[in-house]
Structures are given as structure tokens and as C-alpha cells.
């Protein structure tokens, strides 16, 4: 009897926290189908916000900027990060520690400080705009990319690589034939992490974007004062579903992905840094 009650209390507790975490997401999804413009009154079911969203040139344009930024920055971060991992692994222990320590800086620092320091730095050389935004995104994505490739890099048996070199393969050929296939899953994970981080980032984009450009999060933030358009609810519902599908695909591919969802919320980065430090 007591045991049953105890088990009920446990289930109830889990359900309550589940409800708390999901209620805002549900509210947003419901609002995206709400015929009334009000945020609290239900005016009947409609799909008009979805159609208006596709017809609004500002939303479509900002969406394209955001997605281009995410794809481009993630691609560059992955190339730079992969090269970095190959090089770092060959470094002497001490240098390796210094480089990995420096890699952690954007993870450990507050986003607001990272954003401001980049803004101050750019203000001396560059006009803020898409290029500064791109550099900033690559900068905060790199640690995540390196974090997901490095563990795989460590597992590689260097004998196979050296044997390939002894047998006359060029280092580049040996890299593509031996190292790349081994670290490829890490590269994919790193790419997806970088992508989601970029899509969700607000703080760093806010300080580095310049007046002409907007990403979806900064656009939503600037709309807050006058009231957010219901089209944004529709867009975010679609994006949530898109990321969900992406996640399911990655999860189906194997490796426990539990840590990845985490990487998304930008501030959560700190724990990856923690992880990295502890594991050394």
C-alpha cells in the first residue's frame, strides 16, 4: 500500500515537471494555429499565419540569412576544426593542453562577454554585418566541433596511418583513407551541433550583427516591444519540428545523443567545457 502510494507520488512528480517544461512549447504551438491575434484568447483554428509567413518577404529573407549563416559557419567550423584536431593530436602534451585550454574560452565565458569582446574588436577593423556575424558564429561553434571530433581522434590507431605512409601514401592520401573515415561520425555530430547552436544563438548575434542584418532570434527580440507577429510562432513551430526530425535521424544512426540536445542552448556550453576539462 505504502509502496504503491510512493510509486504514484514519483510518477506524479515526474509528470508535473514534464508539464512545466512543455507548457510554454505547447502554448507556442497552439498560438501558431490561433485565429485571434491576441496571445491569450483562442479565436478558432487557422492556418493563416503559416501562409502569411511564407508570403512575408522580411521573414523569408531573415530565414534565408539565418539558415545560410548556420550552414556556412558550421561548414567552415567543421573544416577548421577537423584540421585543428589532426594537428593538435600530433602536438606535445604541454602544447596540446594550452591549445585545448584556449579552445575552452568561448565555452566558459558568458555569452554577453564573448559577444561584446568580439564587437569591440570588430569595431576597430570591420563594419558590422554578415561577415562579422559569420566570424562570430564560427568562433563560438569551433569548441563544440573540436569537442566532438577529439575523442574519436584519440581512438585512432596511429600504426595504420604510419604503415600507409611507409607504403608510400602521401600524408593527404593517408588522411582521407585512414583518419577521415574514423573521425567521420564525430565530424557529423560536430556539424549538427554547430548548426543548432548557430540557429539558436541570440546574445552573440545581437552584439555582432550590425544594423543592416538580422537573424531570426534577433528579429524576434526587436519585435518584442511592438508585439511579436503570430507568423513567428508558426515559423518557430516548423523549426522545432525540423530540428526534432534532424535529431531523430542522428539518434537512429546510433551513438547515444543525450549530450547533444544539451549543446543547443547556448549557455549550456559550459558543461561541455567542464566535461572537456575533467576528461583530460
Amino acid at each position: 500500500m505504502v509502496k504503491k502510494l510512493f510509486s504514484f507520488i514519483q510518477k506524479f512528480y515526474v509528470a508535473i515537471i514534464f508539464l512545466i517544461l512543455y507548457s510554454p512549447v505547447i502554448v507556442l504551438m497552439v498560438l501558431s494555429f490561433n485565429d485571434s491575434k491576441s496571445r491569450v484568447i483562442w479565436g478558432g483554428f487557422t492556418l493563416k499565419w503559416y501562409s502569411r509567413m511564407f508570403n512575408s518577404s522580411i521573414i523569408v529573407e531573415t530565414f534565408i540569412v539565418t539558415v545560410t549563416l548556420a550552414l556556412l559557419s558550421a561548414a567552415i567550423a567543421v573544416v577548421l576544426g577537423t584540421a585543428a584536431c589532426v594537428g593538435i593530436e600530433a602536438m606535445r602534451r604541454r602544447n596540446k593542453q594550452i591549445v585545448l585550454g584556449a579552445t575552452n574560452i568561448p565555452l566558459l565565458n558568458a555569452d554577453i562577454v564573448t559577444g561584446i569582446s568580439l564587437m569591440l574588436f570588430f569595431s576597430r577593423f570591420l563594419n558590422a554585418g554578415f561577415p562579422t556575424l559569420l566570424i562570430a558564429h564560427i568562433t563560438f561553434e569551433l569548441p563544440y566541433v573540436i569537442l566532438s571530433i577529439m575523442p574519436r581522434m584519440r581512438q585512432i590507431n596511429t600504426n595504420a596511418y604510419n604503415a600507409a605512409l611507409d607504403l608510400g601514401a602521401t600524408p593527404l592520401y593517408a588522411f582521407f583513407k585512414i583518419i577521415l573515415p574514423e573521425i567521420f561520425p564525430g565530424i557529423i555530430t560536430g556539424f549538427i551541433m554547430a548548426l543548432t547552436m548557430s540557429l539558436d544563438d541570440f546574445t552573440i548575434s545581437y552584439f555582432t550583427k550590425g544594423p543592416g542584418v538580422s537573424t531570426l532570434p534577433t528579429m524576434i527580440y526587436s519585435e518584442l516591444r511592438k508585439g511579436v507577429k503570430p507568423e513567428m510562432y508558426a515559423l518557430s513551430t516548423l523549426m522545432f519540428l525540423a530540428v526534432l526530425i534532424l535529431l531523430v535521424i542522428v539518434n537512429l544512426k546510433g551513438s547515444p545523443m543525450l549530450s547533444k540536445p544539451f549543446a543547443n542552448a547556448k549557455n549550456g556550453g559550459k558543461k561541455h567545457a567542464q566535461t572537456m576539462r575533467y576528461r583530460r
Binding site: 507556442l28 566558459l108 561584446i116 541570440f202 531570426l216 576528461r279
Partner: protein, 276 residues
């Protein structure tokens, strides 16, 4: 030997990148923090500006809000993680995954939805009114900010704690019971100490981002409740005194580094933080 030198060279673009876009920007912000606006002469004024009552109160409020949010997250997440860790293997992981999932919706929009729920004419008050219960009036108070932070950062606490509890060997716990330990003793002597690294990393993950948070404070705390993040943000957007803003940022950085150093002290081997 030659190949290893060549391999190291491959990291060169990345090294240039970190120096250029991580280290130099940090030096820039420190430069701004220690120079006078306009004249560029050396000064401590921007750092000492933290003593200004407005800034100081904002810092104290930030630390207090971050502390309470972390504490509430811990109190909510520990029992939850404990319950989930008892689920059969695959299921526990899946449920934890579900708990982390809402973070994939845009942060600002989720906070906006929370605003909808909590506001005086919001959904929660609508339900309370329907049930003829007293309504909430917490919008634009630190309480609302704390609710927002707990909501945003709770998954950061759940995951490391869950991981550290799930890793505990069942055999050890069974052995303790066989040797006559009570449930409470098992918890106090085994589960709690073994999950400590997870607790520590959870605390760091919630506390550090919540001291510097400004979006949640802006949206749920109204214009009157200022956290240090808001003060810094306003120096750069509205006030446009970059030197002062940099000075306050450096002070914030000192607090972040200090809190991480303190946390690391309590974490001997740091095993629980290994999420990968």
C-alpha cells in the same frame, strides 16, 4: 618524425583563428575596461564603477537570483534524476531526452510563452480565476525572473545528475542493503557522495549562465528589475559608454571565473561531468 611536424602545421589556421578571434577580442575588452573614454588614458574608474549603487545592486541581485535559481533547480532535479535513474535502462535515457527536448525551441520565444503563461491576464491566472482561486501577480518581479531561469536551465541540472546517478553500480547498493544498511543510510553514504560530481557540474552549468543572463530579466522582470547583464547590455546599446560597459564585463568575468574555481575545488575526480 617529419610527418608529425607536418601534421602539427595543419592546426595552424585554427591557432591563428583562436588568437585572432578569441584572445585578441578578450585583450580588447580588457583594454577598454582600463582606459578612459575618449582620452584612452589608463584608469581604474570603469572597474570601480561597480561601487555605484545602481551597478552594485544589479550585481548583488544577479548573484542572488542566480543562487536561488540554482538551488531550486537542484532541489527539483535531484529527486527527478533519482526517479528516472531507477527506470529500466533504455527508458530512463529516453525520458531524460524528452526532458531536454524543449530546449530546441527558440529561447526567446519560449520565454515569451512563459510571459503569456505568467502574466496577470495570462493562462495560469485564467485557470485560477475559473477555479475561483486567488490569482498570481508576479510579472515584473524577481520571482518571475527566477521562474524563467529555473525553466530555462533545469535541463542543465537534470542531465549531469542523472548521468552520475545512473553510473552508480547496482551491486554496491545491493551489497550495502545486504550488510544491513537502511534506505536512508544507503542514500547518505553511497548515492549522495557518488553523485556529487554530477551535482557540482550541474550547479556550475546553471549558476554561470544565470549570472550573466539579460534576456529573461528583460522579458519577465520588466524595466525596473535590472540584473548586471541588463546594465552591461544597456551601456553598449542605449548608454554607449563602451569603456564603462567593458569595465563591468570584466568584473562579471571575475565572478564567473571565481565561481568555477570554487566549484572545481569540491570536485575531486570530476567523473560525473563526463557526459561524452
Amino acid at each position: 618524425m617529419k610527418s608529425s611536424r607536418l601534421r602539427r602545421l595543419v592546426a595552424a589556421p585554427y591557432l591563428v583563428w583562436i588568437v585572432g578571434f578569441t584572445i585578441l577580442p578578450l585583450i580588447t575588452i580588457i583594454y577598454y575596461a582600463f582606459t578612459e573614454r575618449g582620452t584612452n588614458s589608463f584608469t581604474f574608474k570603469n572597474i570601480l564603477a561597480i561601487r555605484d549603487p545602481i551597478h552594485f545592486n544589479a550585481l548583488v541581485l544577479s548573484l542572488w537570483v542566480a543562487f536561488l535559481s540554482t538551488l531550486i533547480c537542484l532541489l527539483l532535479a535531484y529527486p527527478l534524476s533519482y526517479i528516472l535513474s531507477k527506470l529500466k535502462n533504455g527508458r530512463g535515457r529516453f525520458v531524460v531526452f524528452l526532458f531536454v527536448l524543449p530546449m530546441w525551441m527558440n529561447h526567446i520565444l519560449r520565454t515569451l510563452a512563459l510571459q503569456n503563461l505568467l502574466s496577470n491576464t495570462g493562462v495560469i491566472n485564467g485557470i485560477l480565476e475559473f477555479l475561483r482561486l486567488p490569482t498570481l501577480n508576479i510579472m515584473n518581479t524577481p520571482t518571475a525572473i527566477i521562474i524563467g531561469m529555473v525553466y530555462t536551465y533545469l535541463p542543465f541540472m537534470i542531465l549531469p545528475i542523472y548521468n552520475s546517478i545512473a553510473k552508480i553500480d547496482d551491486g554496491v547498493i545491493d551489497a550495502a542493503y545486504d550488510l544491513g544498511a537502511s534506505g536512508f543510510t544507503v542514500f547518505r553514504r553511497l548515492i549522495l557522495p557518488l553523485s556529487l560530481p554530477g551535482i557540482i557540474s550541474g550547479i556550475t552549468m546553471v549558476f554561470v549562465p544565470s549570472i550573466s543572463e539579460f534576456v529573461i530579466a528583460d522579458m519577465l522582470g520588466g524595466s525596473k528589475t535590472l540584473l548586471i547583464g541588463n546594465v552591461i547590455e544597456q551601456e553598449f546599446t542605449v548608454g554607449s559608454n563602451w569603456n564603462l560597459g567593458s569595465g563591468l564585463s570584466v568584473v562579471l568575468m571575475v565572478f564567473i571565473v571565481a565561481s568555477m574555481v570554487i566549484m572545481q575545488r569540491y570536485d575531486g575526480d570530476g567523473e560525473g561531468a563526463a557526459l561524452w
